[in-house]
Symmetry: C2
Subunit: 322 residues, 2 copies
């Protein structure tokens, strides 16, 4: 199949059509209108076979996940997602695979009203790189650098499920089938916190999406905001599927150092705490307070039931073996 | 080396800083101001080792070329380039390679005043995917769909040099060293026609950059504009290096079906012909008229010295072997 037929067959004319897209797939570049008084927000995430997903992952899940992890970055900025560029490198043009992959991607794209405006299809080892674009009202973007002493630290949902799905797939943990199905769902079809991110624009002082693990990503907030933190590890929300699958000791690496669930980690000033619960619950998000910004700059103090707690481990790092 | 150190060492704080970038590398996403009364223009191009470049290509050239081919797409839209997202997949973090690669990319980025605003560094087979963003005054983007009967067809410069460099590298043609150096330069360090593209905004009726070969890319204009064309193949500009290396018969595939030089192909209405030469020459571009829009929709008639000419061949296609 020729590249151009391939592109037009699976992408052109599919999915939603946004009015702000003046020229979509089919020219040298796409042309869009950015709303007045808004800034452009841009993020890029790449998934490589064997590094970010297993060879046997379903192409539909892959299409979903590849877009979801990008939308999660936009959510962490409080941005409204709008346009997607897809760089898809494939070993060969497999029709069945493409049908499923694009179906998975179009489903989540439609749900969040984002349009695939272009990209590039090339031959090579399976790699999916997406550049997602969104908009945010001028100077309203959530960053990693606004946390202040005394702010409360929140999570948008339970952690560790996706990580346990990966480890169970590797055969390192035995998980009951019905629980494994739930955990796998969290890895394959992560739900980016897009609406929550936009609500947080007026409430949070800093925000990040957890892609490298709670501690690793919290450290990004601490270093950019020049503050320290105390985390009550017993307050970190845990799904029933994870709780039933692991002993308490086994849980910690999944809660503290696995990042594939794409929940938001954010800080909220004392005077906005009340407003927060009310606002997020409307969007089905049960945010949980897990600690507070305080203490020595760059340091994280961990407490378990009020007692000092030690955890040795770290987030996921590419090239970490070198 | 850890991914984060790697990113910050080679990208953060390097290169130019544009005032319209409110938040660059280092947060979940970048934030930019789009100028008022301008539209956003977005393109994506991926280079895969072994498919788009040879394993022995110098990393500096690769850094240049990866960005150049993207800027060429923006040029073909008449856009002013502004911001770059880089998805870089590397088998391992090789310091020397990264030094050279980023130097090559920063050089051309600086020259065209574009800022690398973010990206993703992942481990895997060498793949460079860039999403380039630029701006164009509202409704002024050059497209492939505006060519009209009677418009003249132009090229921004000679074709085939990069193609001959590739074929000589494969050992299929013998080229004198001094000529090979010139041809290689055109493949490794293509010069995107960024200024020319912006000048053409007010002159050309359609435009495309030649990445798949003159005939293949002309066909894109013809099908989008619903017109036909006559091309005088003897008018296609040829570099001295190519002329000295090939017989006339050997030239045709390079001139008509190789696309790696990234020249612009565009159409100009009769009443803007005079203005064109004057305007482009200021930017060192000697545009050459090679034909006219006329005849049957979608058809290309080739003439050599006024005589009917037949060429059987096609542009470069990924997956073409299937």
């Amino acid at each position: 199949m020729r590249e151009f037929e391939l592109i037009s067959r699976y992408f052109k004319g599919r999915g939603i059509t946004r009015k702000d897209v003046k020229l979509g797939i089919g020219d040298d570049a796409a042309v869009m209108n950015v709303p007045e008084n808004c800034q452009l927000v841009v993020t890029t995430d790449t998934l490589v076979e064997g590094v970010h997903f297993f060879k046997d992952m379903s192409p539909r899940a892959l299409g979903h996940r590849a877009l979801a992890v990008n939308l999660s970055d936009l959510a962490a900025m409080g941005a409204e997602p709008a346009w997607i560029s897809l760089a898809l490198t494939l070993p060969h043009a497999d029709i069945d695979w493409l049908e499923e992959f694009t179906a998975g991607m179009h489903e989540i794209a439609e749900y969040f009203n984002v349009q695939i405006i272009g990209g590039d299809t090339t031959q090579g080892p399976l790699t999916i790189s997406i550049c997602a674009k969104g908009t945010v009202p001028k100077d309203k973007a959530l960053t990693r650098s606004g946390a202040k002493n005394g702010d409360w630290i929140y999570l948008s949902g339970p952690l560790g499920d996706a990580g346990l799905a990966i480890e169970a797939h590797k055969g390192r943990f035995d998980v009951r089938p019905e629980n494994l199905a739930k955990l796998k769902q969290r890895f394959e079809y992560p739900n980016p916190r897009v609406a929550a991110g936009q609500v947080l624009r007026n409430l949070a002082s800093s925000c990040i999406d957890i892609s490298d693990g709670l501690l690793a990503d919290l450290k990004h907030i601490l270093s950019m905001s020049m503050v320290g933190a105390t985390i009550n590890v017993d307050k970190i929300p845990v799904s029933q599927a994870l709780a039933e699958s692991l002993t308490e000791d086994e849980r910690w690496p999944f809660l503290l150092a696995y990042g594939d669930d794409y929940e938001l980690l954010f800080t909220v000033p004392e005077d906005k705490k009340g407003m927060l619960d009310l606002s997020l619950r409307q969007y089905g998000v049960e945010a949980v307070c897990i600690g507070q910004i305080k203490g020595t700059e760059g340091q994280i103090e961990l407490l378990n039931q009020g007692e000092k707690f030690t955890f040795v481990g770290q987030g996921y790092q590419h090239f970490a073996e070198e």
